[in-house]
């Protein structure tokens, strides 16, 4: 795609100037690429055949840690790239929110995967996955305080130094909060974006899950976030257990999440919305229906 700007430097403009607020030099680059992709899907080996046959697909995501940047790509990924589908590496193990510096070899791998895929941007989470030498095996929430903002900022900057494309940061769904949060979720996210110049990967299912479990209004959070910096959006399913909503990625996308997609698009439609499914894969017809429902909720063309 010739219209992909290589935007390494602009992504760090806010970090170097310290200019706060969404109206920094990073925001226009945000839109990242200026390209609108529409509805996409997270590529997983188990659904490679299904993804390969989506005629209108222009945007997909692959777990960065599953790719060998100097070996063969999975055949399904090669085929998508050959079709001109944009494939974004989605990191899950960098632990950007860890108090320790992100390991250099993980940063190198992440950057090499981005290069190998020719990706116009990369993404990771505002979370930590290990501490004290122990792997948690899951994305864990950070305390929403200045110390955590500083830790994330330092790690994101370490990654940005190795990247030639922007990084989008994804706030996670958390079943619990830390006891001593100082910032609201919107303040915490915005502060990190401002200090790093990063884009926002807004997971609308995470917004729904957190609001439901905290008893807050998800649309209120949408009103407080810098939506003009959303690079793309995740959509996923979940289920309730013992009164708590779990963002499982193994259940169907519930209607309230689709309604929230519409509420988001009414405010500022993101360039891409991507379905994430991570197990208990349903029949192809069900996955197609979910993609169509996301298209309908966002008024993007169906990709099926």
């Amino acid at each position: 795609m010739a219209d992909r700007p290589r935007v390494g430097a602009p992504a760090t403009a806010a970090a170097t100037t310290g200019v706060p607020g969404p109206a920094t030099a990073a925001a226009p680059a945000a839109a990242g690429t200026g390209v609108t992709y529409g509805v996409g899907i997270g590529w997983r080996p188990e659904i490679a055949g299904f993804v390969a046959e989506l005629p209108g697909l222009r945007f997909a995501e692959v777990v960065a840690e599953s790719i060998h940047p100097h070996g063969d790509l999975p055949a399904g990924i090669e085929a998508l790239l050959a079709r001109g589908v944009t494939v974004v590496p989605h990191g899950v193990r960098l632990s950007l929110g860890g108090a320790e510096p992100v390991p250099a070899e993980r940063v190198d791998h992440f950057a090499a995967v981005a290069q190998r895929l020719g990706a116009p941007l990369v993404s990771e989470h505002i979370a930590f996955v290990r501490a004290g030498g122990i792997e948690a095996g899951h994305l864990l929430p950070l305390p929403r305080n200045r110390e955590a903002v500083a830790a994330v900022t330092a790690n994101v900057r370490r990654v940005q130094e190795s990247l030639s494309v922007p990084i989008a940061l994804e706030p996670i769904a958390a079943l619990f909060d830390w006891p001593d949060d100082e910032l609201t979720e919107a303040q915490f996210i915005t502060e990190i974006l401002d200090r790093t110049g990063a884009l926002l990967l807004l997971d609308i299912a995470n917004v729904y899950a957190n609001a439901r479990n905290r008893g807050t209004d998800p649309e209120e959070l949408l009103d407080q976030l810098p939506l003009d910096r959303v690079a793309y959006t995740h959509v996923a399913g979940g289920a309730e257990h013992q009164g708590l909503y779990h963002d499982t990625h193994t259940d169907a996308v519930p209607q309230p999440v689709l309604d929230l997609v519409t509420a988001l698009c009414d405010r500022h439609r993101p360039p891409a919305l991507l379905l994430e499914r991570d197990g208990a894969y349903p029949p192809a017809a069900d996955l197609r229906a979910e993609l169509d429902a996301i298209a309908k909720a966002s008024a993007y063309p169906a990709v099926t």
């Binding site: 108090a99 004290g132 122990i134 792997e135 095996g137 305390p143």
Partner: protein
């Protein structure tokens, strides 16, 4: 101090702190991960119900991941798999799903509790890869023959064949 499984746990006394000083982010993250994965107590101030929900969800997620690496091990427990794995894994932080399943299978074998179907799967893995229980498994260089609870698997030039199923 001992973990719930009865093993001794090294416990460094924390440096004295002000009552309202929760500690460094690094220390607090480490305490949180230990509580979630190693059976250590939940740090003060968290919502116990929600923290427990997260701990259990994490174990179930791990059980799902291990079942993809060890399908016969998981299948041999049927509906009880998630419970079986979660009970075993509650005080054992993950070493990755390949090693988690391997460690559990060896534990079951040592307790003479490894189901026959899972024994075949274990023998195949043991024949294919060298695993010392502490570092990532790696392919065996020479030919090998491994036995697990009556299952026998042989590996020659990287190809594994089951010679006997229990």
């Amino acid at each position: 101090m001992t973990a719930p499984d009865g093993t001794a746990v090294d416990h460094e006394p924390p440096a004295p702190r002000q009552a309202d000083d929760p500690g460094s982010l690094a220390d607090r993250q480490a305490a949180l991960v230990e509580a979630l994965t190693a059976g250590r107590p939940m740090p003060a101030g968290f919502d116990g119900f929600r923290f427990e929900a997260a701990r259990v969800a994490l174990l179930r997620k791990r059980a799902g991941e291990v079942s993809r690496q060890w399908p016969l091990l998981a299948a041999s427990f049927g509906d009880r798999w998630k419970h079986e794995f979660a009970t075993w894994a509650a005080t054992r932080p993950t070493q990755g799903s390949l090693r988690d399943g391997w460690d559990l299978a060896r534990d079951l074998l040592a307790r003479a509790a490894l189901p026959p179907m899972a024994a075949t799967e274990l023998a195949e893995r043991e024949a294919a890869l060298h695993y010392d229980g502490a570092s990532p498994p790696r392919p065996r260089r020479g030919p090998s023959l491994r036995v697990a609870a009556g299952a026998v698997a042989v590996q020659i030039a990287g190809r594994v064949r089951v010679l006997r199923r229990p």
